[in-house]
Amino acid sequence: MRHARLPFPRLHGLLDDAVPLRTHRFGHGDAAEAATDDAESDVLEAVRERARGVHERLAHDADVFAVELLGATGSGKTALVERLLEGPFAAETVGVVAGDVSGTDDADRYRDHGVAVANVTTGKDCHLDPQRLDAALDGFDLDALDVLFVENVGNMVCPADFPLGAHRRLVVVSPTEGDDVVRKHPLLFQACDAAVINKVDVADAVGAEVDRMAEDVTTVAPDTPTLRTNARTGRGIEDLAALLDAARTDAARHHG
């Protein structure tokens, strides 16, 4: 079987996982058709396969518990991780991957907490992908890490299609985004393992109903737990830590 070279010189990272394409053909009147093998020609399945590879590297090879945080810019992802670093995870060796379209603001905040940080700027891309995460992991001494937090780009659409291989995906929203934010981004909530409604204390001031947001999570993504936090006061941080702790115990049991 011949493997044609990809025709584009400027290959996006996604293409590097290209696998040999198996085809079979059959006559069809004047034309010919080639049916492509499903699993191998599926772009998003290739992404998921890469994410499984990252998971393998983190969970199996290095025994690192990985948590991805997603949600809009300003929802409080960084602040939540900061509270976790100061409190429940203070005794652990933690690494953070800060994904942003540009800048090092989040990475600088994390560095102030004395943890290992990789800043990943995606340029014009709207999401982290497993390949970029995999490359960022090279900057850590993974064997020394207990926990890795991965903060995705502030975007509520694209990351839903691009899992990264973390043990848990947390979507963080806040009432300032409007209390219909969950209904507007159903696929993201369906792609995550837990939802965190942050900044609950400002809900009244912005006329948002936190209960409605929580109900929407249940409607859109049944069985997905919802937590209520305020990263500025530390409210709910213990609940979040407990949720992650349970997930970690689960993972340890699963991986033996």
């Binding site: 080639a34 049916a35 492509t36 998003l44 859109v220």
Partner: protein
């Protein structure tokens, strides 16, 4: 938003497949898109047309197969999922119609090239 990335991959696949079959032109390519993805067919078609310029796929008709979301539940139910009402994205309703619990997706996250159509090589290479 990531249609360009996806489209580039699809065109690469189509061109490589055509080459494997000694075809120097692609008349049509078919892309399968699951209902539980954020990939928008119109945008994919536009991106494919742009990217395909100068390749054997530049005049290809782009066709889509929409894959409905399907799921299965711990209670034993399995089937096609309804679309969630009142959502902009037309996301699948992940509630089990039998027990109300959450269902696991078994289909609907696809995004790939399923087939290409090329001129018959007996005509193009007599």
């Amino acid at each position: 938003m990531h249609e360009l990335t996806v489209a580039r991959r699809l065109v690469d696949r189509a061109v490589a497949t055509a080459r494997d079959h000694d075809a120097d032109r692609i008349d049509a390519l078919t892309v399968r898109i699951g209902a539980a993805t954020h990939v928008v067919p119109d945008q994919i078609a536009f991106c494919i047309e742009t990217i395909a310029e100068g390749t054997p796929a530049e005049d290809a008709t782009v066709r889509f197969e929409r894959v409905p979301a399907r799921g299965e539940c711990a209670c034993g139910w399995a089937g096609e999922l309804d679309t969630l009402a009142d959502t902009v994205a037309g996301a699948p309703d992940r509630r089990c119609p039998e027990c109300g619990g959450g269902v696991t997706l078994t289909a609907g996250t696809e995004c790939g090239l399923t087939r290409i159509e090329t001129p018959d090589p007996r005509d193009t290479h007599p």
